[in-house]
């Protein structure tokens, strides 16, 4: 399937869900079934359209494709500029795919204000796609911030008992981080007279300037990823959010932080990123090791997976920033490329795995209305199919070879080894810790004797839930067994990125 090149495909992917979501609001509370079906239809349509990106992209080119350029606010030289390279396409694909599963998974778990719930997710989807393909920094920022409102509402309205606290914390943390980025962007505009990411990447900057800008961007994206020590909003948000909210948060929203590092920190302030890479690497290692131990101690399944997300995202930031050391200090461009590739694969993989894990918890929660590990035990006896899938995802989360979780982590560890075996050793502890906390949780929840009467009454997953989990499993397995299509897709822009970060912008 090839689409004519003059199609505004990216705009369609942004605005179809947003307008679809707005239309969904008009269905009203009485026609919940209609709203559900309509929302699912819109999300499937968006997903189908996004396939056009994969078929239409020229993988050998590192430049932006599917480009759309329109003046938006000429008074400020702000453009409605969209474009996607391999990295964007992969993440947009993840977004549209996961959104379909999220809507499918949320089918019956919400009983009040269904139309608004589904509308929020559609609007959120459009905004997230916008983040991944905006090539104008201000447009990026607009999508980046606007995203907060639907997520705030999702957590606050449909969340758990402490939802208000969690939603406000989520909002303020992210907002505080991103305003510093805003200052950085305006500074760059005053300096270079443009908001285009490509122009900003070409703008020469002094060392101190770069340092300030680096920390501005770091503030925005470190909160989003989230990195230690600004991760504290995430466990709260995850625990209180409804299942679908957790899935979107873990599977897609966290990726925006990693994506931001690739689009802002690396190309725009490469020298400062190089100077301060040690800091990010240290923070990543703390995330990997310390947060791994924290995860071990959790009694709440969702909280455990939330902490495991932080640890896994630590790999993304590690792989991203280790590339500097490798490319500049060691002159090892291949290893740098490996590190970045690993980070990207880890992002996509974590999207599937964490989404699936949260969906699994959602399946249990819908039945038992408890997330506490202690309330479960012996689920395999009453829900064999579910148990099989849950164990599979747990293995992927622990980084078992053959699943997607292994590929990214392995690549990053391999790259880290080129720099220092000690670093690789530290990073590799996650494989042990990840296995420990995940498998221990699975042991306590799934295996053993039936723990109580509630577990004994459980019914296995129905067809809808089976589809959702099976599709997640398919993604995990495909990526784990044969990641080459994905790495090929992202190779050209990553090679270009490695070149960019190898050259200094100082003058």
């Amino acid at each position: 399937m090839t689409l004519p090149t003059n199609w505004p495909l990216l705009s369609l992917l942004i605005w179809l869900p947003i307008f679809g979501g707005a239309a969904c609001l008009f269905f009203g509370d009485q026609r919940a079934a209609l709203a559900r079906n309509f929302a699912l239809l819109v999300s499937i349509l968006t997903f189908v359209l996004s396939i056009g990106l994969f078929t239409g992209i020229d993988q050998s080119s590192a430049s932006m494709q599917f480009v759309e350029t329109h003046p938006w606010i000429p008074a400020f030289k702000i453009f409605y500029n969209l474009g996607a390279d391999g990295i964007s396409v992969a993440l947009i694909g993840l977004t549209t795919f996961v959104t379909v599963l999220v809507l499918l998974g949320a089918w019956n778990s919400i009983d009040r204000r269904v139309h608004q719930y589904f509308a929020s997710f559609l609007i959120l989807e459009g905004l997230m796609v916008g983040v991944f393909c905006a090539t104008d920094a201000m447009l990026f920022y607009v999508f980046f911030e606007a995203m907060l409102i639907p997520m705030f509402i999702i957590i606050g309205v449909w969340g758990g008992p402490r939802r208000v606290y969690a939603s406000v914390k989520f909002f303020l943390f992210t907002f505080l981080g991103s305003v510093f980025m805003l200052i950085g962007l305006i500074y760059l505009y005053l300096k270079g007279g443009s908001f285009q990411l490509a122009d900003l990447a070409a703008l020469p900057l002094e060392k101190t300037e770069q340092m300030w800008l680096f920390f501005g961007f770091l503030a925005a994206f470190a909160v989003k990823v989230p990195m230690f020590p600004v991760h504290t909003w995430l466990p709260d948000a995850h625990v209180e959010a409804p299942t679908a909210g957790s899935v979107v948060l873990a599977a897609i929203m966290l990726k925006i932080g990693g994506y931001g590092f690739l689009r802002f920190n690396l190309p725009i302030v490469p020298d400062a990123s190089h100077d301060w890479a040690w800091l990010v690497i240290a923070m990543s290692l703390i995330a990997v090791i310390y947060i791994g131990f924290v995860a071990l101690a959790q009694a709440d399944m969702k909280k455990l997976i939330a902490y495991s997300s932080i640890a896994h995202m630590g790999f993304v930031t590690l792989g991203t920033f280790i590339a500097f050391e490798l490319a500049r200090d060691f002159g090892n461009a291949d290893a740098a490329r490996l590190g970045l590739q690993g980070a990207m694969v880890q992002m996509i993989s974590h999207g599937f795995v964490s989404g699936a894990m949260f969906s699994c918890v959602g399946v249990l929660y819908d039945r038992m209305h408890s997330r506490m590990i202690a309330d479960y035990g012996g689920v395999v006896n009453t829900m064999p199919w579910f148990a099989a899938l849950f164990v599979f995802f747990a293995m992927a989360n622990a980084g078992l070879p053959g699943t997607s979780g292994f590929v990214g982590e392995f690549m990053v560890v391999l790259a880290a080894f080129q720099k220092s075996p000690l670093l690789a050793f530290g990073a590799a502890t996650t494989l042990v810790l990840g296995a420990a906390y995940t498998l221990w949780m699975v042991k306590r929840v799934v295996f053993g004797k039936v723990a109580n009467a509630h577990v004994a009454e459980l019914s296995d997953i129905n067809a809808r839930e089976a589809w959702v989990l099976a599709l997640f499993a398919l993604g995990v397995l495909a990526l784990g067994v044969y990641p080459k299509p994905l790495t090929d897709l992202m190779d050209a822009p990553i090679v270009q990125l490695v070149n960019q970060l190898g050259t200094s912008k100082l003058f």
């Binding site: 606007a146 939603s167 907002f175 305006i186």
Partner: protein, 496 residues
């Protein structure tokens, strides 16, 4: 240097020509129409007062047409330079008509429910409008002071309109005393400047200020005058540390009046600040820039911090106004065309947002009940999801979240601050914006996440109010997504 032209000589020059009158047709019209309306209203039975309302709106439309008919493309002077008409003045006037019109629609049912629906309201607001129009078009100190006093006196009257309400009367008294003091300070500053430069005309003052030797007696006098001017401006705006009157007046005044005070006059005060500080004593901007920056910083911190502790929404919005004034002053502190354009964009956006914010209270109020507290918004999402969504837009815009209008206005003033080399102010302002987001979120929280105690919030049955509020709130989204025209106007108003 002694004044070349003394006051009698200026008056002797002043021969009014037809061109002079032509330039100020909108002002003359509003003046005449306001008097006529006052007369017409005398002969109307209370039951037919709707006609006054209609006529008042018609006057605004006509004034808008008259202004648009020969919309400025450059600067035009009249009355020997005491009256200026330029793009900035015309854009500000147009914004005033729109916001005043919205206020008329919002106020009508509110006043009717409280037996305050009288002709004075319309006449006073129209006189206030006339004062504001004069302020933004002032080419001399006298014109400016005249406009300011007309606005101020009308506002004192409006605040005290509910005579039987002791809180409102107290607010009016407080407003009157402190406002008069501010006017006095401003007038004193003006007299010092007149003493130093020998002219009441801003253009002459500008020329004289540029040529006065530093350190001389006249120079000292002028600098002192500038300080007083600035204090006066800050007082009127409600910038910290001259903000004490503002929360009490906003809270005490009838909400419909607060909506007026909190919106349109900001446009006029911006015009006044620009005329005085740039068109008048612009050459001294090195002296006043840092003072304005300090006022901005103080307003941002004090406004936002105190707003955090409020549970009364009117009072909360009052403190939030102070913080918005801080943002506006960031633009002024830049003291270049870029900064004035930014400040003007902020003033226009804020007047629209402010009207919407107070309208949110008016929409939820009804006979015998003012939705003054945040708690009154609880459960609005259940009873009226669409209105909850509109209020959400208003709050998000005030908090500065894209793509709403409030975001772009913050963007331009932050740019102005960075351009002026005031990075510290820019960083302070965004931290304050996050604090601000917290209390705006409290309103959203109340609407969406919290359960109402009783039946939940009920909105006013008046369809005009509902429609106007919807338009006002959606305009924040529309003007945010299509920000270009307004931004371009504000840039063109101050050619580099």
């Amino acid at each position: 240097m002694l004044p070349a032209a003394t006051l009698p000589a200026v008056i002797a020059q002043a021969v009014v020509t037809q061109a002079d009158l032509h330039t100020m047709v909108p002002e003359l019209f509003v003046c005449g129409a306001a008097f006529a309306l006052l007369m017409v209203d005398l002969f109307l039975a209370p039951a037919r007062r709707g006609l006054t309302h209609f006529l008042a709106l018609l006057i605004l439309v006509a004034a808008a047409v008259l202004t648009a008919r020969d919309f400025s493309t450059g600067e035009r002077l009249a009355f020997s330079g005491f009256f200026v008409r330029d793009i900035a003045a015309d854009v500000l006037k147009m914004a005033m008509y729109v916001v005043t019109g919205l206020i008329f629609v919002y106020a009508k049912p509110f006043l009717q429910d409280r037996n305050l629906f009288k002709g004075e309201f319309y006449a006073l607001v129209l006189f206030a409008l006339l004062g504001m129009m004069l302020m933004v078009s002032a080419g001399g100190l006298v014109t400016l002071y005249l406009g300011l006093e007309l606005l101020a006196l009308s506002c004192y009257g409006l605040v005290g309109m509910d005579r039987d309400n002791p809180v409102a009367s107290e607010a009016a008294m407080k407003y009157f005393i402190l406002g008069s003091m501010a006017s006095g300070l401003l007038l004193y500053g003006m007299s010092l400047i007149y003493g130093a430069t020998g002219s009441l005309q801003l253009a002459d003052i500008y020329a004289a200020a540029g040529s006065l030797p530093q350190g001389g007696n006249e120079g000292m006098l002028l600098t002192l005058g500038v300080v007083f001017l600035l204090v006066g401006v800050a007082f009127k705006f409600g910038a910290a540390p001259f903000h004490m009157w503002l929360p009490d007046v906003y809270q005490g005044a009838p909400t419909a009046i607060t909506a007026f005070l909190g919106s349109a006059p900001k446009l006029a005060y911006f015009g006044m600040a620009y005329r005085l500080l740039e068109a008048g004593v612009g050459p001294l901007d090195v002296e006043w820039r840092m003072m304005v920056a300090f006022l901005a910083a103080a307003s941002l911190v004090i406004g936002n911090l105190i707003a955090l502790a409020q549970t009364n929404l009117k009072r909360l919005l009052a403190y939030s106004t102070i913080s918005h004034v801080g943002f506006l002053f960031m633009g002024l502190a830049n003291a270049t065309p870029l900064g004035y354009g930014a400040a003007m964009f902020y003033a226009v956006s804020y007047s629209i947002m402010g009207a919407a914010a107070f309208a949110a209270i008016l929409v939820l109020s009804r006979k015998g009940f003012d939705a003054e507290n945040i708690a009154d918004f609880r459960g609005l999402w259940k009873t009226h999801p669409w209105y909850a969504l509109l209020v959400l837009m208003v709050m998000a815009s005030l908090a500065g979240i894209p793509p709403f209008l409030g975001f772009w206005s913050k963007l331009v003033v932050i740019q102005a601050a960075l351009d002026a080399g005031m990075g510290w102010l820019a960083i302070l302002s965004v931290v304050c914006a996050v604090l601000g987001a917290f209390y705006y979120l409290r309103v959203i929280r109340a609407m969406f996440f919290e359960e109402a105690d009783g039946d939940g919030a009920v909105i006013h049955p008046d369809s005009h109010v509902r429609a106007a509020f919807a338009i006002n709130a959606l305009a924040l989204l529309g003007l945010g997504i299509f920000a270009q025209p307004l931004m371009a106007w504000c840039q063109q108003a101050f050619p580099a």
